[in-house]
């Protein structure tokens, strides 16, 4: 089959690889009908995530038709149309049974590696480094899905792939980011980063009772999309973001701040240059100017919610501000499984049509070019969907 393989930093190729097979009783094999490139795939593309190996199949946002199931899977059958959550969860450990699916104890075959980095391992993820499982991803014609009796979620035929595909990651991720803010009716929420996760965070924040959402980015089409979602906008390259946020909130600051940017932030301030130098010389792993600004800007007693991906260590982390202002910091890989029934209901009710983020729909063969287009934010690129068949 054809699969999108990571071959090194800025080197992604479509290669002919063997088809996946059932390896464990609770496995399924899915024929992939649609798969997307996630902003977090760009962290892999840019070489920011450790323990990638040349030849790894990428992709953790995918859906399709069940092709084959293992002997332990009784709730799915060949022909079912499913979306696949990006964290792999056993459904039975302490964490899964407490709705903390992305913290599953049992799905990472390389748990020892993650333990070296993080103390304890989180769930294995599709196509996202060996430290997080080393699982082949879904940017391919077929994909093996472990614990298929827990992960894959059936979707109704009348909804298009583009309407349900983002249930795999970016929609629940934006939603959880907003939910983590514990929004009270009338709150103001600031969102750094207007990629797909930011877009879904904006809309989810309104859905959960926010009166105002202020979106911060510098890419015109992303800001335009945020405006369509009802947000006010600020340019992230404007050195006065903090002052403007303070001024527009009556001197209080936003009630909650969402960092939907993550470890490869850009910014107008000296800290960005500092991060850039430190990461380029391997003295730090993550650039965190968005997170620093979110913590600095947040009102006292407010919440900073971080759906943005971080991998390792942040330098000059303003913990004094977080401590002295009494902030709550909420973060984590998304517990996708937990949100699926509710978010599917929102789609079916017409509360939201997630397909609004799609700007490019291409064949799998176009992957190498699309990774570059998406990374460089060329051609108005916000979300790429690929069709493997």
């Amino acid at each position: 089959m054809k699969a999108v393989c990571w071959e090194g930093t800025s080197d992604v190729r479509v290669e002919d690889v063997p088809d996946p097979t059932i390896l464990n009783p609770r496995d399924a094999v899915i024929r992939v009908t649609s798969t997307a490139i996630c902003g977090s795939d760009l962290h892999l593309f840019d070489g920011f995530i450790p323990t990638m190996r040349a030849g790894d199949i990428l992709g953790h946002e995918f859906m399709g038709i069940v092709e084959e199931v293992g002997s332990g899977v009784t709730n799915l059958k060949t022909g079912d149309r499913v979306i696949v959550p990006f964290p792999i969860a056993c459904g039975r450990c302490f964490f899964c049974t407490h709705d903390l699916y992305s913290c599953c104890d049992n799905s990472n075959p390389n748990a020892w590696m993650a333990e070296k980095f993080y103390g304890y391992t989180a769930a294995g993820l599709f196509g996202y480094s060996h430290m997080l499982g080393g699982y082949a991803g879904g940017q391919a014609e077929y994909a093996r899905v472990p614990f298929a009796d827990v992960g894959p979620f059936k979707v109704p035929a009348h909804l298009s792939d583009e309407q349900v595909l983002f249930l795999t990651d970016v929609y629940p991720t934006g939603f959880m980011a907003a939910e983590n803010c514990h929004i009270q009716s009338g709150d103001t929420v600031a969102v750094w980063g207007c990629g797909p996760v930011g877009q879904f965070a904006i809309r989810s924040a309104f859905m959960l009772g926010a009166r105002r959402v202020i979106a911060i980015d510098t890419v015109p089409e992303r800001l335009a999309m945020a405006t369509e979602g009802g947000a006010e906008i600020l340019d992230s390259m404007d050195p006065d973001v903090f002052y403007k946020l303070r001024a527009t909130t009556g001197g209080i600051g936003p009630d909650s701040c969402i960092d939907a940017v993550g470890m490869e932030a850009h910014g107008p301030h000296i800290d960005y240059v500092y991060d850039k130098i430190k990461t380029m010389t391997y003295m730090a792993t993550d650039r965190a100017s968005a997170l620093r600004q979110a913590i600095h800007s947040c009102r006292k007693g407010g919440t900073v919610s971080v759906p943005g991906v971080y991998g390792g260590f942040i330098d000059k982390f303003p913990f004094g501000a977080a401590m002295n202002k009494g902030l709550t910091i909420k973060t984590g890989q998304t517990h996708v499984h937990k949100y699926l029934p509710r978010l599917l209901r929102h789609i079916e009710n017409g509360d939201i049509d997630p397909s609004f983020v799609v700007t490019h729909c291409v064949s799998l063969d176009d992957a190498p070019e699309m990774y570059e287009t998406f990374r460089d934010k060329k051609d108005g690129c916000i979300k790429v969907v690929m069709k493997p068949h």
């Binding site: 002919d16 063997p18 996946p20 009783p25 302490f94 049992n106 020892w112 063969d365």
Partner: protein, 262 residues
């Protein structure tokens, strides 16, 4: 070594006996100033240590705790959960204190104690998650034959017997005298807010003693990590019903070399 490792597991009378006998033996050994005397002095020192601290490494490895009451010739467990049979073991003599390798690891499993205990008690199940074991065969009651994959593809075999068994609480075993390897182990099952805590103590003298251990380490058989990974697999098997794997999945490393598409 953590505090728990140093816990008191020897009864009061035995501690005094250890102190007295250890003192006498050490004094005797030091006075003789010859090789046998040195051995006696060392043994005496070990006994002194044992008496002074109330802690016996060998007892710990065997899952034995004699710090509490004793009746009818059998020692009762300190927590009153049952008795320990057959305290006069030969392996105790073979496994001297810090000479061997002692591993303690624990894991919390979201399953009932009885299920985990039952699975473990059938030693034939152990190779399903203990990677260094090739097979375990139950022979007559309480005796089992173990085959392990030793360093450098070497096969290590021994017979073991159960020396301590309290339903849903603890299983202790040790190798029989004259085995290729002298080993002892125990597994404890305790209720915990997050499930069942399974604690394993393992002590063994690998072939060739310390040198053997060094070789084992070189070959990636570092005992602590081995047991830790074994317990992780036990948990995966019990909770998820299978051990996660990526072995056999496709990758570009197995690509049929065709021209890239872009």
């Amino acid at each position: 070594m953590n505090r728990e490792d140093m816990g008191v597991n020897i009864g009061r009378v035995e501690r005094w006996l250890s102190l007295v006998a250890g003192g006498a033996l050490a004094a005797y050994g030091l006075k003789r100033r010859q090789a046998p005397g040195g051995a006696a002095a060392i043994a005496g020192a070990a006994l002194l240590y044992r008496g002074a601290t109330g802690h016996c490494d060998v007892y710990q490895a065997l899952g034995v705790n004699r710090a509490y009451g004793r009746a009818n010739g059998n020692a009762f467990r300190g927590d009153g959960t049952g008795f320990i049979a057959d305290l006069g073991s030969d392996t105790r003599a073979q496994l001297g204190g810090h000479r061997g390798i002692h591993v303690e690891e624990s894991v919390t499993i979201n399953r009932p104690i009885s299920e985990l205990y039952r699975f473990w008690r059938n030693f034939e199940n152990l190779p399903q998650f203990m990677e260094h074991l090739k097979s375990v065969a139950m022979r007559e009651e309480g005796i089992s034959h173990w085959i392990a994959k030793g360093p450098a593809g070497m096969r290590v075999e021994w017979d073991a017997r159960i020396i301590n068994e309290v339903d849903n609480k603890v299983i202790g075993w040790q190798s029989l005298e004259g085995s290729m390897i002298s080993t002892a182990g125990s597994v404890n099952f305790d209720e915990d807010a997050h499930g069942t805590r399974v604690t394993v103590h393992l002590q063994y003298n690998p072939p060739g003693g310390r040198a053997g251990a060094a070789i084992a380490r070189i070959f990636g058989e570092e005992p602590n990590q081995t047991i830790r990974e074994d317990l992780r697999r036990f948990k995966q098997l019990m909770e998820a019903g299978e051990i996660p794997t990526t072995e056999g999945q496709p990758s570009g490393r197995h690509a049929r070399k065709t021209p890239k598409t872009a």
